[in-house]
Chain length 459, copies 2
């Protein structure tokens, strides 16, 4: 080590170079990294007073486009966080500032629709002196481009705003970029869900997988079956999602290009359902008598299917997305096995002692109902594992640890779409799960990968 107080000239030069290079280095903070991004050291200053969004003349969407009008308002505040202005303040110009216009052009309008599995989210963004041009096929693509644009702007130590000359060509690698929130084990108040949707938009995530009910509680307030939340929620008035709450979530998500896919997980994970729907769950037996506890949904009685059909009809009506998640994971067979009626049904159906066949029988029934309602089912991988060749098309979500890429290969080989959740459980501890590890997951690194796939973060 050199003696403190003495520095070799070479070190000084190096430090100077670092300082110089920092002032000209363009900001590369766009997240996730666009498919193509080219930035130059040419830097433009932005004045909030002279900054505006506008619709391109050739744009199919113009003022009145709900999604983009609201996005312009939102992103202005995101880009200029400390900007406030009243009439009494007048305009403050910086001498070097000039107007800057972000022109947004969309090919097809669709401002009042919902994003869905086939939505084109690609966009091109070109930032030059005094203007940025953002082009996309859909308004959802524009939202992604506005997010990228907002991330290009930075402030210096004096609070002035800048951005660099930039060209971006971008489209998502995966069509389904989900975040799962479990509102059954822990009730989340509405504002927490809305805030999470904001955060998803900042990361260009596009599916809110709402694991809305489970064993511990049933917070969804059903129109058709109000007792499900009256008796199955942690609290029937404070810890529920009313229909207007659900509408708020769906609209907040829509404004950010986010799909809302609800999950009504059955036949397992349904303890809370049983409180408000008495004959739904299987009574468990201890020897020849009911033990007083209950197991999964009873797949042997007609009332179960009538109930599920009515519930799914309501779900179709309330949630506009084309997908609905039907669960199907972690079904414990012990209770079914203990119940003499279930055993009798197994015999009648020729299932022998294979309870995976009973689960498959149930899942296929509700997947057929879902298909009849024009919705695509998602199920956890268990359903696929039990019965590899189903009649209907569905989407498989891979959640089990171990060789999840092997499972991906099996599912895609069967011609089904797949969502990968296994390596992304945010609640699991290090060292097997740490944020750094998420970056080394290679979802497509399996044989016969077609290059298509999806991911779902488990929040």
């Amino acid at each position: 080590m050199a003696h403190p107080g003495t520095h070799s000239p070479r070190l000084w030069v190096w430090l100077l170079l670092v300082v110089v290079s920092r002032t000209v280095e363009p900001v590369c903070g766009v997240w996730p990294l666009p498919q193509q991004i080219h930035q130059s050291p040419d830097r433009y200053s932005l004045s909030p007073q002279l900054f505006s969004f506008t619709y391109g003349k050739d744009s199919a969407a113009q003022t009145g486009c709900s999604v983009l009008d609201a996005a312009f308002k939102r992103y202005f505040s995101i880009i200029f966080p400390d900007f406030t202005k009243g009439p009494e303040n007048g305009l403050r110009y910086w001498s070097e500032s000039k107007p800057f216009v972000v022109s947004v052009s969309v090919k097809s309008r669709g401002c009042d629709g919902y994003p869905d599995e086939d939505s084109d989210e690609s966009y091109n963004l070109s930032v030059s002196d005094g203007q940025a041009v953002l082009r996309s096929v859909t308004v959802w693509g524009s939202l992604r481009g506005l997010e990228s644009f907002s991330q290009l702007v930075y402030q210096d130590d004096y609070g002035s705003y800048f951005l660099n000359k930039t060209e971006i060509v971008d489209f998502p690698r995966f069509a389904f970029r989900g975040l799962l929130l479990d509102t059954s084990r822990h009730y989340l108040p509405l504002h927490a869900i809305l805030k999470t949707l904001d955060a998803m938009a900042y990361s260009k995530l596009n599916v809110f997988h709402w694991h809305i009910v489970d064993d511990p509680s049933f917070p969804y307030q059903s129109r058709t079956f109000p007792d499900l939340s009256n008796k199955g929620a942690f609290h029937p008035f404070t810890h529920i999602y009313t229909q207007s709450d659900v509408m708020r979530v769906i609209e907040h998500a829509r404004m950010r290009g986010i799909r809302v896919v609800p999950e009504f997980d059955s036949p397992g994970h349904t303890q809370s359902w049983g409180k408000g729907q008495p004959d739904l769950l299987t009574p468990c037996y201890k020897g020849d008598v009911p033990s007083g506890s209950f197991g999964p949904v009873d797949p042997t009685v007609d009332t179960t299917y009538k109930f599920m059909e009515r519930l799914l009809k309501e779900v179709k009506y309330v949630f506009p997305d084309s997908y609905v998640h039907l669960g199907g994971d972690e079904v414990s067979f012990a209770c079914w096995q203990s119940n003499p009626n279930v055993r009798k049904f197994m015999g009648k159906m020729g299932f022998g002692k294979d309870f995976t066949k009973l689960e498959s029988f149930y899942m296929e029934s509700i997947m057929n109902m879902t298909a009849a309602l024009n919705k695509t089912s998602i199920v956890w991988q268990d359903v696929f594992d039990y019965r590899e060749r189903p009649r209907a098309k569905y989407v498989v979500e891979v959640w089990k640890q171990g060789c999840y890429l092997c499972e991906m290969r099996r599912v895609t080989k069967a011609g089904l779409k797949v969502i990968l959740a296994a390596p992304f459980y945010l609640d699991l501890p290090i060292p097997t799960h740490s944020w750094a590890r998420y970056y080394i997951v290679r979802p497509l690194a399996f044989k016969d990968s077609t290059g298509h796939g999806s991911g779902d973060l488990e929040g």
Copy 2:
């Protein structure tokens, strides 16, 4: 005065009586005072864990009723402000507590509609041991009853909840109980408007009179005329109400039984309109040449009426209420008088030098448009004062100081409905305006009063 340290025995007895009477006195805090309220000292304790709302068996509205489902959720938190509960806390019973059920019955469903001028807001509320029965004709009446119920509940020094045996028969004295917010002179962010709507519900006010635009700024983002806010708002992105903002306001209001009546005040109070709609305002003249400044809307050109018709069509589409406020107040005639084209038009129409006739001509035109769109016009009293016998029915809002009751008499005598705002300007200073004075206003104390009338607070 008695010497400090000595008290006569009589004073002590009196103090004791005060203490005793306070513990048995029922709470009379329902606001505004119901038409009939009878309370007894019989006091019931409430346990949040054993408290519930339910729909009466004979109620036309049941679970799935958006307005009431959301109200049950909201009022639970209002009634028990410090109540939080998670699964890990378990249930905490007070030994003396027992279940308490509020049963709500509505005659006609109408959960998805909007409150309007003929909505029945009456309700009966009966609180006895273990239950409250709330009956109303409409869901709007239930909301008023739930508000009253929430005000009956109080906490002692230990945080326990109580309410007394109570009978309430209630209906509003006035059908139109408005609060005006001016979002033009000072832009109010969305959350401030929503919070004001909450406060209105606590006072059973039922009309949000949204004075949305005026001279200083035009924050309403019009689909048809985007330049009105692009150029006329304090800021085109941050200080505007997008269509989705307006929808949020209307839905938040609907959930609380509050109508949203927008005001697009013209032909005066329109300086901000002129920025985005160049030929709308009258150019003022200095001698024979335009002075560069502009006056009220130009009522002499066809383009003005085409513009107003398109704007009003949009307003009809966006705001569901049957009323729309067209303004018509404080029109300065100096600019019209200075303009040679206007003077020529006056001559052609035979108006002489009476510019009130020109204003009446304009107002009648836009009131006819409004009637053709199936909406009822409200106008400020100036319009009535200038021309007492109009063809169409409309509502007159009295705002001028002086003998406002004389004006009320004139308007009602002409067979028109009237709203009284004059004595309720919250922004005017004492001593002529103070909160205490609002209580001595007697809106119906004029000759020939039919007993019907309305009030509008100017916020």
